[in-house]
Structure formats: C-alpha cells, structure tokens
C-alpha cells in the first residue's frame, strides 16, 4: 500500500488501467443486459418483472460495497494518514449514493407490480434508506468546511460511525419478519436460483463493480487535479 502512497504514481497507473477496466465494464454490462433482458427465461411467479432484479440486486450489493470502501478508506486515512485514502473516500461517496438511489428506485418499480405498493416500511427498505441518508450526510459534512483537510477528517469519523448500519442491512431480512425476501445466493447450500438467471446476475454484478472502479478512478483524478490547482493558486495568488 505504501508504494501506492504517491499521487503522481497513482495517476500514471490509473491512466494506463482506465481504458482496460472501462472496456471490461462495458462488455460485461452489455452481455449481462442482453442475457438478462432477452436471453433469460421469465420467472414462473414474477413473470417479466424478474428482469428488474438484474439491475436491482447488483445495485444493492454495490451500495453496501461502496460504503465498505468508504469506511475502509476512511479508517486507513485516520490511522495511517494514507494520502490517497481520503481522496478515495470522497470519490466513492457520491457513487455509492447513486447506487443506493438506483437500488431504492428499481426496488420501488419492482414492488409496485409484485407487492402492490411502491414502498413498505420494512426493515430492509428502511435500513437502505438510512444508508442513503448516511451517504448524503457524509457528502454534506465533507463540503461544509472552509479547509478541505478538516472536512476530510470529520467525514472519515462519520463514515466509521455509520458502519453500524451495514450489518443491520445485511441481517435485517433474517432478524425481522419482513416482506423483502432473504438472500438467495450467499447460502450454505446451493444458491436458490436457476443457472440461466444466475449468469446474467453475476455478469451485471461484475459489470457494476468494474463501472465503480472506472468512475472511482475518474473522480479521484479530478479531486487530485483540483487539489493541484488549489495548491498552484496558493503559490501564485495573482493568477
């Protein structure tokens, strides 16, 4: 990790990596969408609406994954003062908020035909909504200070406090009797899902993951460049 603790070196590596990751993301999302929307069977109970799941489930996974990225980056920023960690945290937060919003919206679109309602106040939905608020709170806090350094540190502590919500989201379907169904994939026995549906789901999940990496790199580069501009302005205030 220390080898990467150099913004210039990171920028160089990211530059080379970006087209490959972007291509892979595009490819797996394209194949995943084709399989999910056209080449996979409709569900015997849910009918065609099951196809919403190929977007909904990966979005929800990514919403949690982004928060864990945010938390791990925040921890390494606070503990080891890693110079790229706060950049990564600040870059990841809006992406995570976007994935959370997408999970909530696609969930509502699926819930309307299947549950007969756009929204229910069950434990899974409520805790994901809280996750969305946590992202918004983090973004608001980081931008609320005149010195960026101060905002980064305050935001890092908030991100770590918010980690309590992640296990609540994960286990909410087991702890409470909810309308939202429990996990179908991460079970001790075989996944409760047909292979024809599993393959587009995993492809979409992979594609979303790669998409996250692409946007993260682009956003980190933007933040680093903005910092550099700020530093240059400080050296030559007249410019």
């Amino acid at each position: 990790m220390h080898w990467f603790a150099n913004p210039a070196r990171f920028m160089r590596i990211a530059e080379k990596l970006l087209p490959w990751v972007a291509g892979a993301a595009l490819l797996s999302i394209a194949i995943g969408l084709y399989q999910g929307l056209l080449a996979s069977p409709a569900d015997y109970q849910q009918g065609e609406t099951v196809r919403i799941m190929y977007v909904h489930v990966p979005s929800a996974w990514m919403a949690m994954f982004c928060y864990m990225t945010l938390a791990v980056a925040s921890a390494s920023f606070l503990i080891w003062k890693h110079p790229l960690a706060d950049v990564a945290a600040q870059a990841a937060a809006p992406i995570g908020a976007g994935f959370t919003a997408m999970a909530l919206i696609t969930g509502a679109l699926w819930g309307q035909p299947m549950w007969g309602t756009w929204w229910v106040w069950d434990a899974r939905l409520t805790s994901v909504l809280i996750l969305f608020f946590l992202y918004l709170g983090y973004i608001a806090l980081v931008n609320a200070f005149d010195e960026p350094e101060r905002g980064a540190r305050a935001g890092a502590i908030l991100a770590l406090v918010g980690v309590v919500n992640v296990p609540i989201i994960k286990f909410s379907v087991d702890w409470w009797n909810t309308l939202h169904q429990p996990a179908s994939l991460t079970r001790l026995d075989a996944p409760a899902i047909d292979p024809a549906m599993l393959s587009p789901l995993l492809l979409m999940a992979l594609g979303f993951q790669l998409y996250f990496v692409v946007v993260l790199i682009i956003r980190m580069r933007a933040i680093l460049t903005a910092r550099r501009i700020r530093a240059l302005h400080m050296v030559e205030p007249g410019e």
């Binding site: 608001a140 806090l141 609320a144 200070f145 305050a154 502590i157 918010g162």
Partner: protein, 221 residues
C-alpha cells in the same frame, strides 16, 4: 473522577445561570407535540393511535435543537482546547458533557412527556412505559448527538447539518421507543422493547464518547 464531577458541576451551573437555553428545547417539544392535533384533527381515536410516535418525534427534534449547546460555546471561547489538554481522558470528559446535557434537556423532556401523552389521549396504561422508555432512550439521543455536535464544529450551517447527520442514526431509538409505548398501550408487555433500548444505551455509553472525543481532537488541532 474529579474531572468528571467538575465538568458536570460547571455545565449545570452554566445552565442555571442562562436557564433560557434549556427552557427553549422544552417549550419547542411542547409546541411541536401540540401542533399534531391541529394537523391531523382532534379525533381522540386517531390521536391515541399516534400518541407514542408523536411524543417520541417531538423529543427527538427537541434533542436535536439543543445539541449546539454541547460544544459550540466551548469551541468559540477556547475552553475546548483546555478540555483536550486536560490530564483526564477526553472520553470521560465527553461522557460528563453528555450526562450534563441529558440532565439539562433530556430529563425535563422525559418528565413532561406523560403530560403530553395526556393531551394526546394516550392510554393511561402506557404512562409508566413511556417514562421508562424515555429514561433509557433520551440519554442515547444525547450520546449520539454528541458525536454529531463534535463533528460539525466550525462547519458552515452547523445547526442544520448536525440534524442531517444525527437523525438517521437515532432511528433505532425511535423504533424501539415507540414500539414499547404501543405494546404497553394495547396491554402487551413492553419488556423486550425496553431491553433493546437498554442495550442501545449500554452500547452507546462506551462507543459514542470514544467517537466524539476523536472528532473533538481533530476539531481543535
């Protein structure tokens, strides 16, 4: 322990001398709860049904309103730097601050809540449960609020921001507090809900001062 007692004495003395600050939160609580019958209509059946939730939301908002009292004044006059440099662990001092904050705002809110329950036609069975749930829940609000109040020190529009940060984290208190009152109102035992509230309090007592102290340290350096 000397530092702990000294902080509580100081906070209480300050609150006594400028009593209006604590009173404002209490009046705000009463006004918010009194608005609900005007908003949803005065039918006793409806009010009885929502009374537990209304009292809890009022308490939550009143607690948010009083959070800027916690560290803001000390941050402005430099007292916070002395607290950070004091020979006692900052976590203990933060805990003392939270306890003092609860004594000044949480305790009056808790004591007046049955009266507001009366105004909302709450089932008389539920009053003791409401008091017990408030006694366990309002300290958690002060503790979680301390983390938020410490994080926003020196931020722009800190008052609004602290509510945005803290309110999502207080949802468990609201859920179990309301379900305790509702269980008691329909004659079921409120025991499990009160135990969960107690568990939240026991978890918040060590964790929140720790996080708040970390936030205070980075605010003064």
């Amino acid at each position: 322990m000397k530092g702990f007692a000294a902080i509580i004495r100081r906070e209480l003395k300050l609150a006594m001398r400028q009593g209006s600050d604590a009173a404002i939160a209490l009046i705000f609580f009463v006004v918010v709860v009194a608005l609900f019958p005007l908003g949803v209509g005065p039918e006793p059946g409806v009010l009885e049904r929502i009374s537990g939730g209304v009292v809890w939301i009022g308490a939550l908002l009143a607690a948010m309103l009083s959070l800027d009292r916690l560290f803001q004044a000390d941050h402005e006059d430099g007292g916070l730097d002395l607290l950070v440099m004091a020979p006692w662990p900052l976590e203990v001092l933060v805990l003392a601050k939270c306890l003092a904050h609860w004594l000044v705002t949480g305790l009056p809110i808790m004591l007046i809540s049955p009266l507001l329950g009366l105004l909302l036609h709450m089932n008389t069975e539920a009053y003791f449960t409401l008091l017990a749930a408030m006694a366990l829940g309002t300290p958690v609000l002060s503790l979680i609020g301390a983390v938020g109040a410490a994080l926003v020190l020196g931020a722009r529009r800190a008052g609004v921001l602290v509510s945005l940060l803290v309110l999502p984290l207080t949802v468990p208190v609201l859920i179990f507090g309301v379900s305790a009152v509702e269980a008691a109102a329909i004659g079921q035992g409120a025991g499990p809900h009160l135990m969960l509230l107690g568990a939240l309090l026991l978890a918040a007592i060590p964790l929140c001062p720790w996080a708040a102290a970390a936030a205070l340290r980075q605010a003064v350096t």
